[in-house]
């Protein structure tokens, strides 16, 4: 690996981490769409900052861009509060307006400004190593590495300092407010960090793909864990993993780095969406199928219990016809009951074992009374009784 390659991967990884952290909270706050808005509407801030400083990595530019990000949020909330339109409509009104101001500013001054729309939309990570920070003739590395590194340090610092406040205001803003942990401050703090991160990541991945880096790792992590801290860690790992994999995919295909990173993120999400252990699509389908069989099992056991005296009602063949099930279903229900020692089959006559009777009583009791204590010990074995 050349030096430049390492630098690009390092920048991409830092960008991914800096995005995944606020992204996690945005996903939990159901504000994914607002990142879309912010990433577009910081454009006028960037352009104006660029006109003033003529330097894409000037701190002033970052401050102006972050300010226009926060203005976006304020405008969206203002329009929403009028009660005339809903939040999504308000977002859809605000960010194109601000974005187009930026576009007009760029195109009007295109002659003397070295800032083109493609770079703004898609970013260009490959050029990042060329723009270097030189101090006293000493090469300190790419400028974007310093920018995103600083942003990341601030983000991580804030996360550690205000983790508890962020958590409670995300979960229950009313409580946070009653406790005196101002959810409004947290809200605008998060919005400011998101805006600043977006600007920092902008250079590397552009306005459109930064959204993917914020949302996709968090959304993927959300499917895999029930713990906020683990979700943050997973989101960071997914972000970094996709950034590095994406770089090598781009390298192999000789294609856009940011495009490849986003594609990897998308594929990662798809994989987890399909195969996640408890929230994944296949796992949900499997659980639903199990639940169906278990409901049938209960129906079947209840039938057996109701006809203890009458052997003809408990004949294997008769059950097929009587309960009106197809052969496959009958078989899987019989198998499940046998496997759990709930029935005995003697000469094709089915009867309940003591365990089967017990199970039936408990289950019916639960269904009638809805008392959770009744089924605590059954939850581990039967999907039917899990939420």
């Amino acid at each position: 690996m050349s030096n430049a390659q390492i630098e690009i991967q390092l920048i991409a990884s830092l960008v991914a981490i800096a995005c995944a952290i606020p992204g996690t909270f945005l996903v939990l706050r159901k504000m994914a769409l607002i990142t879309d808005a912010i990433s577009h509407s910081i454009l006028p801030g960037i352009v104006i900052g660029f006109f003033i400083t003529h330097d894409l990595s000037s701190p002033l530019l970052i401050i102006l861009a972050a300010a226009s990000g926060v203005i976006t949020v304020v405008l969206v909330e203002f329009i929403q509060k009028t009660g005339l339109v809903k939040e999504d409509t308000a977002i859809g009104l605000v960010f194109p307006a601000l974005f187009s101001i930026g576009i007009i500013l760029i195109s009007q001054n295109a002659n003397d400004v070295h800032l083109d729309i493609d770079a703004v939309l898609l970013g260009e990570l490959a050029f990042a190593p060329f723009d270097r920070l030189i101090f006293n003739e000493l090469d300190l590395g790419p400028k974007s590495l310093w920018i995103i590194g600083t942003i990341l340090l601030i983000t991580v610092g804030l996360l550690f300092a205000f983790f508890k406040e962020l958590k409670v205001s995300t979960f229950d803003a009313g409580l946070a407010s009653a406790l005196g942990l101002s959810p409004v401050v947290m809200h605008y703090g998060l919005m400011t960090v998101s805006s600043i991160t977006t600007v920092g990541a902008f250079d590397a991945v552009g306005a459109i793909l930064v959204i993917a880096l914020m949302i996709a790792p968090a959304a993927t992590a959300y499917l895999l864990t029930n713990d906020l801290k683990k979700m943050l860690v997973l989101a960071v790992l997914f972000g970094v993993g996709s950034a590095i994999t994406g770089y090598w995919v781009a390298h192999g295909l000789d294609s856009s780095i940011s495009g490849s990173m986003t594609t990897v993120l998308g594929l990662l999400f798809l994989t987890v969406y399909l195969f996640a252990p408890s929230k994944g699509l296949f796992s949900v389908l499997y659980r639903q199928k199990q639940q169906r069989i278990e409901v049938s099992l209960l129906t079947f056991l209840l039938h057996l219990g109701n006809h203890e005296e009458d052997e003809t009602e408990r004949h294997v063949k008769h059950l097929n016809e009587h309960i009106n099930w197809q052969k496959v279903k009958s078989k899987s229900v019989l198998d499940l009951a046998l496997k759990n020692n709930m029935i005995l089959i003697d000469n094709d006559i089915v009867s309940l074992t003591e365990k089967g009777q017990h199970f039936t009583t408990e289950a019916i009791d639960y269904i009638v009374t809805n008392k959770n204590s009744e089924i605590e010990n059954m939850k581990d074995r039967f999907f039917l009784f899990r939420g």
Binding site: K164, F171, D172, G174, L175, A176, S177, A178, L181, D227
Partner: protein
């Protein structure tokens, strides 16, 4: 009953988009009562609690908790919001939600430690949820979620408890368990204020009641003022509840 006033509300008016939802409320809640706030949908019951707790800014009037503004008395007050007001798919456990109750006394930045954890476990035990401490909150039933919320308020160890419809969507057992805990709180000298929907249970559960419908209709001991006259004034239609006294 002592004459000490726990919550004093004067001329409180709250509006959403300039439409008043609470109009000129004067209300004194004595210390040590277990009070129900009743009224039809849209009467402003939740709004009243939220404006006492400074979650909503009133356009007029003042609220005093033991004679001082809420901002200075936060540590004396615990709040149980409506169960539906939060996202139960949030990635966290029962214990962690209860621990959130300690965040107020911790203040900014400081993290909960062993002391807070111990208090939270005790609160979980009190509501009969200790066995579920590591359960992810989306895996809890409605009644269990409500108990978790109650435990979170208990851990605040406050003097005044505000609860927004704690009996909504819970089974009979949980309802009994919750009301027993509320009665215990009152016995310990705490003041408990509950937004309540089921008029039938008011005389059994509460000793104090406030009728609210945008304006305050009446407030006082259940045995004196919980009658058809006030119910009709509050709910508009001719309300008949047989009140056994």
């Amino acid at each position: 009953m002592e004459d000490k006033i726990a919550v004093q509300i004067d001329d409180l008016t709250v509006a959403y988009n300039y439409k008043p939802v609470l109009w000129d409320i004067d209300l004194s809640i004595p210390e040590g009562v277990l009070m129900a706030i009743v009224g039809p949908n849209g009467a402003g019951k939740s709004t009243l609690i939220k404006s006492i707790l400074d979650i909503i800014n009133p356009i007029a009037g003042s609220v005093k908790i033991y004679g001082k503004p809420y901002k200075k008395q936060r540590s004396l007050v615990a709040y149980v919001p409506q169960k539906g007001s939060v996202d139960w798919d949030f990635p966290t456990t029962s214990l962690d939600v209860v621990m959130m109750g300690t965040y107020g006394s911790l203040g900014w930045i400081k993290r909960p430690g062993q002391k807070e954890k111990k208090a939270s476990l005790e609160a979980l035990e009190k509501v009969g949820m200790l066995a579920f401490k590591n359960r992810q909150i989306s895996q809890l039933s409605g009644g269990q979620q409500q108990r978790i919320f109650l435990a979170r308020a208990l851990v605040q160890n406050a003097a005044i408890y505000f609860m927004d419809e704690p009996f909504q969507g819970v089974d009979a057992t949980t309802e009994k368990a919750i009301i027993n805990i509320l009665k215990e709180l009152r016995k310990a000298g705490k003041t408990v204020i509950v937004v309540h929907h089921d008029l039938q249970t008011v005389p059994e559960y509460f000793d104090w009641v406030t009728f609210l419908n945008v304006k305050k209709i009446a407030t006082g001991p259940v045995k004196d003022i919980f009658n058809d006259d006030n119910l009709t004034k509050t709910y508009g239609i001719n309300y008949k509840v047989s009140v056994q006294q």
